[in-house]
């Protein structure tokens, strides 16, 4: 679950970090009133849970309340990487002296927590890594021993801050708060970019991002509730699929994809792409494919606005082909007519029986995925 900037900042504030004054608005009038109250230039920040919103016009500075309202009118309803702006976080504009980067992740190779710190920031970490990799410091934290004082010292001094100054204390507090957020919220990522030194000489997280582990949401009922009310970057389709128990990701092509297992489903998408087609989605029905699961998955894609043909790729050791065929049959029956062509590739038991059942529906069953992929692409073009 991706938290909004304002939620991430509230969490850091709860853990003792001083954050720039800001308020959340859902209408242009509200934006104006907040700007009036602040009585200073403000920054309008679109609350969308994707990185790179600044470049997409999701961050604007307004000198007056009138300007703030006018900019908000443009910003509300705007789509940033497919996400519609419904909330704007209005913060006090701060003159910035220097921008830094700080994030905390779980490192796969060392199996430890890992801080990434850079005295230059405000641009994506991948850009920093490309332009000046020597600026990135890695500090590993043992999950059993936890954050030690020397970790904090090592990070803060790398950021270019002098010991014994108020900045040193402020930056140290931010490092500790990020670590607490990571552990206490079951986060996968806690990031502040830019972490800034403002004109007043204070260290402040100008932006903050937290991603919480979906598998641990049961330990955080408040977040679970917030997600229920507002699923953020999860589309309606993805959400519906999740409820049934599928893994679903929207893509932009016209060949609908159903596979079993994450790797095989990705491989199926890649196969379509390899032969010159474009996958419309990723739909992984998971382990054993019963007729009910196949039926529900196919129904999702039959009603998909962009998918013009559907490619079902099942590799089952113990899955039965007749069971898959029965699922296809049931989905078509419920949908009334088959408005799109379907191609099935399937390895499993009872293949001959499955082939006969599908043949009656006018659906070919293929033994190899390559031929099936090419057929599906051809159907999508018709």
């Amino acid at each position: 679950m991706k938290l909004y900037e304002y939620e991430a900042k509230e969490i850091l504030a709860k853990y003792g970090v001083k954050i720039p004054p800001g308020e959340l608005a859902t209408t242009p009038e509200q934006v104006r009133r907040i700007a009036e109250r602040m009585g200073k230039p403000v920054v309008l920040k679109a609350q969308v849970t994707v990185a790179g919103r600044g470049k997409a016009g999701g961050i604007k500075v307004a000198k007056t309340p009138e300007e703030a309202e006018a900019l908000a009118r443009q910003m509300f309803g705007m789509a940033i990487k497919g996400l519609v702006v419904k909330k704007i976080y209005v913060t006090e504009y701060q003159e910035v002296e220097r921008e830094m980067y700080l994030s905390l992740i779980i490192d796969r190779a060392s199996r430890k927590y890992l801080f990434l710190a850079s005295p230059i920031g405000g641009i994506d970490i991948e850009e920093i890594a490309k332009k000046s990799p020597e600026k990135i410091k890695r500090v590993y934290v043992d999950p059993f021993e936890g954050l030690k004082d020397f970790h904090v010292r090592s990070i803060v001094s790398w950021l270019g801050i002098k010991p014994g100054t108020p900045q040193w204390e402020q930056a140290s507090a931010i490092v500790r708060a990020m670590y607490r957020a990571m552990v206490e919220l079951d986060a996968e990522l806690v990031e502040s970019n830019p972490l800034a030194i403002n004109a007043a000489g204070e260290v402040v997280p100008l932006d903050a991002r937290i991603i919480v582990d979906d598998n641990a949401l049961f330990r955080h009922p408040d977040l679970e509730k917030a997600f229920e009310e507002d699923p953020r970057d999860v589309t309606e389709f993805e959400r519906y699929a999740q409820k049934i128990g599928f893994n679903y990701v929207e893509l932009d092509g016209d060949v609908g994809i159903i596979g079993n297992g994450a790797g095989l489903t990705m491989s199926t998408m890649d196969l379509v792409y390899h032969f010159g087609g474009r996958p419309a989605n990723f739909l992984d029905i998971g382990g054993g494919a019963s007729r009910d699961v196949v039926r529900e998955a196919l129904k999702v894609l039959l009603s998909h606005p962009r998918a013009r043909a559907i490619f079902i790729n099942i590799f089952g050791g113990i899955t039965r082909a007749d069971e898959v065929a029965a699922g296809v049959e049931a989905a078509l029956k419920e949908a009334g007519t088959a408005n799109k062509r379907i191609v099935v590739r399937m390895k499993g038991t009872n293949e001959e029986l499955g082939r006969q059942m599908l043949a009656k529906l006018g659906i070919p069953l293929y033994e190899d995925a390559e031929t099936a992929a090419q057929k599906a692409i051809e159907f999508a073009k018709q």
Partner: protein, 294 residues
Amino acid sequence: MTVLVGPNTKVIVQGITGKEGSFHAQRMLEYGTKVVGGVTPGKGGATVAGLPVFDTVEEAVRATGANASVVFVPARFAPDAVYEAVDAGIKLVVVITEHIPIHDTLRFVNYAKARGVDVIGPNCPGIVAPLVRVKLGIMPNNIYQTPGRIGVISRSGTLTYEISYQLVRAGFGINTAIGVGGDPIVGTDLVEAALMMAKDPEIDAIVAIGEVGGDAEERLAKLYAEGAIGKPIVAYVAGRTAPPEKRMGHAGAIVMLGSGDARSKVEAFKAAGIPVAETPIEVPKLVAEALKRK
């Protein structure tokens, strides 16, 4: 020789009274695995698939001499099951369970490793060694009937079966196949699995199946280029068309902070001199060529 398991591997199934646990205990027995019992707290004294059920791993180990375990326990209780197995003296724990919180996995994997216990998974299909007919996991038995000299390591389940099937169909046999798991943190990653297979003189070539997310493929490529593997690797990477910041089914299959996309993995393999198959069906052909070059 095979990797991690052998003729003396004696297996208990944690969560044996559950639907998955009992079903797969039976399949493992049919495959030839020495499954000696199961554990479900509160169900001690019962029998599943002809096997005795114990309340604790400690009792199961005492009664059966088990040295390996397969965990089918639901996500909220699975970490506890792993700690219990480690403290009871089990030497290999295979965690099939999906959806375990990553901070929990981070801790139990470190705990096990510090005590010399190997963990495979979580969120994995397990390990199968046709050469000795031992399976700890959920792989379909019918794919793994042909023993041979190829090692398969993979971050994906069904794709492992698919590629194993293609290998067998092309006339190859499999020594050991390890599905390392689809989570960001796993007990044995692609690199560690490859290093184990590198040491096994009865494995001629390794097929490495990667996917988006993390940097295990890049690290493996680097080791190979440095000469640490010493035998051919053939790779396949799933997710070339995966969009950034979206989780592709597996918790670990995500491109984050600009790292982990398929292109970087394919390029790393190629730069290291590891052939990369464009499609699963191409894998056996590349293996044959790699063995010829050897």
